[in-house]
């Protein structure tokens, strides 16, 4: 009986912590894989993008009403780009799966859905010591980007003040070619 009771306890503890373990891994890669599996698409590797003249996080982003400044901390940008593919699918189901996977370790800040899923934007954030990690997922009809950056407290303030605008600026900063 004692063995059974102990087994129940272990199972209960495992069930309670299962989601935590799931979300503790590399969430950026998990999200990229989730998009690939859900929409049956493939992301473009960064070396390929670099060859095409695109640089990661080297451009300055213009924040609403202010001078041009960099948002992401230098060297902190993780980027996955999906180009010219079909993102047809049940966007509500996708949103639910995404929230289920990330909500344990990330704080959902803002989620916007436009035109019956034609554009989906999800912004999550979490503590990273004295700085903050931000994950911005943008899915449009033919393209998508997943960007993870580290923000200073100062730039987190910008994000909190204007989540939508700053979220877009983070994605732009990570993807715009500064050679243009």
């Amino acid at each position: 009986m004692k063995a059974i009771a102990t087994s129940i306890l272990i199972v209960a503890m495992t069930l309670t912590t299962a989601n935590v373990v799931q979300a503790k891994g590399d969430d950026f890669n998990s999200v990229v894989k989730m998009i690939e599996q859900f929409y049956r698409v493939k992301h473009v590797g960064i070396p390929f993008l670099a060859k095409a003249g695109m640089k990661v996080a080297t451009t300055a982003a213009r924040i609403k009403g202010g001078e041009a400044k960099r948002i992401a901390e230098a060297g902190s940008v993780k980027l996955a780009v999906f180009e010219d593919q079909n993102f047809n699918g049940d966007f509500i189901k996708f949103r639910n799966s995404l929230n289920e996977a990330l909500n344990v370790t990330w704080m959902p800040l803002i989620q916007t859905l436009s035109g019956a899923g034609e554009e989906q934007v999800y912004i999550y954030l979490k503590d990273a010591g004295d700085k903050f990690n931000v994950l911005v997922i943008t899915i449009e009809q033919r393209d998508a980007t997943v960007v993870q950056v580290t923000l200073s407290p100062k730039n987190l303030a910008l994000l909190l003040k204007d989540p939508e605008g700053t979220g877009k600026a983070i994605t732009q900063e990570a993807t715009i070619n500064d050679q243009e």
Partner: protein, 193 residues
């Protein structure tokens, strides 16, 4: 000697507690409005905005807004003491995409104890605006705004000490939409709720 039944009962009980504990921790305060009843409208809406700034984020906000920057200092002052900002907003291409029962899922909660509807609050925006405050004695514990139009449904819920002036200043910040709120000359309790 320790009786065997103590182990048999205690262990499953402990296991049960471990399962229940996270749900108990996640229990929300009274001034938090549950908006999940509106989620099905996402499929019909042309634009959906969902803002979740919970207590952890509010604490972060209070820390990261600078005292040196005038603009940020004002926001910092406004968010101090707040425990959450939640927004759910839907815009539709055509009329009639949501029904009275959808709005009722929110209004039902606002008829609960402590909630008082403010009258004479108007908006520069078209449509109907309802503003509710949650009183804990003399203290305001939260605020809810319900804005309905033929093609729009917006619910804003601020948890913590807040008033209309504060709300008006927070419009356009922290994901709170521009509600065009015009403070009333005077406010009183609405007993017709």
């Amino acid at each position: 000697m320790k009786p065997l039944f103590h182990i048999n009962i205690r262990m499953p009980l402990l296991a049960l507690l471990l399962c229940i504990a996270p749900a108990a921790i996640a229990q929300v305060p009274d001034s938090r409005i549950q908006m999940g009843g509106l989620d099905h409208l996402t499929a019909k809406a042309s634009q959906t905005v969902d803002v979740n700034i919970d207590e952890r984020l509010m604490r972060l906000a209070a820390k990261v807004f600078s005292d040196k920057d005038e603009d940020e200092r004002q926001v910092k002052k406004l968010v101090e003491g707040l425990k959450g900002v939640y927004v759910k907003s839907f815009e539709f291409e055509t009329d009639g995409q949501y029904v009275a029962a959808d709005v009722e899922t929110i209004r039902t909660q606002l008829r609960g104890p402590g909630w008082t509807r403010l009258v004479n609050v108007t908006s520069k925006k078209e449509g109907m605006l309802e503003v509710y405050l949650l009183f804990n004695g003399d203290q305001v514990g939260g605020l809810a705004v319900l804005h309905t139009d033929d093609r729009e449904l917006t619910v804003v819920n601020i948890v913590g000490p807040v008033d209309l002036d504060k709300l008006a200043k927070l419009e356009g910040q922290l994901g709170i939409p521009e509600l065009g709120i015009e403070s009333p000359k005077k406010s009183k309790n609405d007993d017709e709720k």
